[in-house]
Symmetry: C2
Subunit: 268 residues, 2 copies
């Protein structure tokens, strides 16, 4: 199933636009979980099992695994998501970007090794650096990021448009004709999120920045939803997975996920 | 030893501005090398031992390892370079870029796990996405890339300058004050390489694109060298490591490396 079909299915099955970010941090693992790679796997498995029915996507952030050599654990976590939770999409958050022949290897990593439906990618190197992802699965392209430095290049004007709007337009007009594409747009700037939605009315938006990063859910949903009242994967990582550092962490993560989903769905 | 000191040392010890790119491709491995992860390690080890004294840098491209789960092999290859060849710098070609808290994990991956002196990074997300690399080792920032799509964003004008020159100026004026920084500028555009050198007279330039990608050595060296007739890591991957598919591949790789180094040094 293609990414867009899987995402449509996931929105319908879960009634949720929540994306649960899997960013395991050894120092934050809850009580009862060992502080090693095995603990990372145990922790992620518990979070996945407790939140899968209220999420449209899981988004493992690969650096949290790669820093510690936990790729085998990431492989098993991804396999668990694909096999046990077919109604949830799997987005590998890797922000890849390289010349075409190298991007082919990164596409193998994302789609063959980890079984991702989609992977986050960086647009700085242009179309040929995205094509292997567009051709083989789906590329979710960095557009307007939620970090402090995001505005440095992304808000500069080119051809009368800020860089991030130029990227949104290229995604909507060019990259979407090559393959399946989405955009990363931070929740910290709802006005800019609305501008991206206007430029790219049909593209799915991956929206980090609610929860720990401070973005407001109501403003985010109003700005980013599509005409079907869907169209977003609203990511929360820390506020859900570290909701509780006790042995009840999985139940607390579920409660945080349900409450976030409900807050998203309550926006009129 | 810092990256810039190590690079100065490497240029002096090897009399070479050649960077040997380690891009192992299972389909291109020479006779006598098994077509598996062990073969990748054996192949890279042989290339390293045969070319280390005529190179200022080795640049493993991480996707070629990550696509196949060959991270343990990459770890051992990097360890070999650092332990047996202290006069050569180690650049992890990973083109990382993410929000600060995630970039910390990528910095751990590059510097702690693989022992790199420097890592290639993508500037799209701005200063805080580069800081962990600048603080802990060195960041070699994508500026003007050699691929077909490189001009799409990089040649757009912002504030009266093409994007790539804006990045070069920010690197020279801002990022170099935070930590150690270099720039990636392709050999396929010598005019643009000369412009970057004028903007950033003191920054080391990692220059891919000679050899298989078609860049001209003489034009590249004239455009990119600094006032000391150094300042470049001129990368060649395929033209050196796949110089010969027979069992003599290591000798042939050495011959190709020597001849490339000599061609670089012959430019008056």
């Amino acid at each position: 199933m293609s990414f867009l079909a899987a995402l449509d299915n996931a929105w319908a099955a879960s009634s949720s636009m929540l994306c649960v970010g899997l960013d395991p941090d050894l120092q934050k693992l809850p009580d009862g979980i060992s502080r090693d790679n095995r603990g990372i796997e145990d922790f992620c498995r518990a979070i996945i099992e407790s939140t899968a029915d209220v999420a449209c996507a899981f988004k493992p952030q690969i650096a949290h695994f790669a820093a510690r050599g936990a790729e085998p654990q990431l492989e098993r976590i991804c396999k668990l998501i694909r096999e046990n939770h077919p109604n949830v999409t799997l987005i590998l958050d890797a922000k890849r970007g390289d010349i075409g022949s190298t991007a082919e290897y990164y596409a193998q990593e994302a789609f063959d090794r980890y079984g991702a439906h989609a992977v986050t990618v960086n647009p700085y190197m242009g179309t040929d650096s995205l094509e292997p992802f567009l051709a083989r699965g789906a590329a979710i392209v960095l557009c307007r990021t939620s970090n402090p430095g995001g505005s440095e290049l992304q808000n500069k004007m080119i051809d009368g448009l800020p860089v991030y709007q130029h990227i949104a337009r290229t995604a909507a007009e060019t990259w979407s004709k090559i393959g399946q594409v989405g955009l990363v747009v931070g929740a910290t700037f709802p006005g800019e999120l609305a501008e991206v939605r206007a430029i790219a009315p049909a593209l799915p938006l991956l929206v980090p920045g609610i929860g720990a990063q401070g973005g407001d859910i109501e403003a985010t949903v109003r700005a980013g939803r599509d005409k079907n009242n869907r169209g977003m994967m609203i990511n929360s990582s820390r506020a859900i997975i570290y909701a509780d550092s006790s042995r009840n962490f999985a139940d607390s993560a579920r409660a945080a996920a349900v409450s976030t989903r409900d807050a998203i769905n309550a926006v009129s």
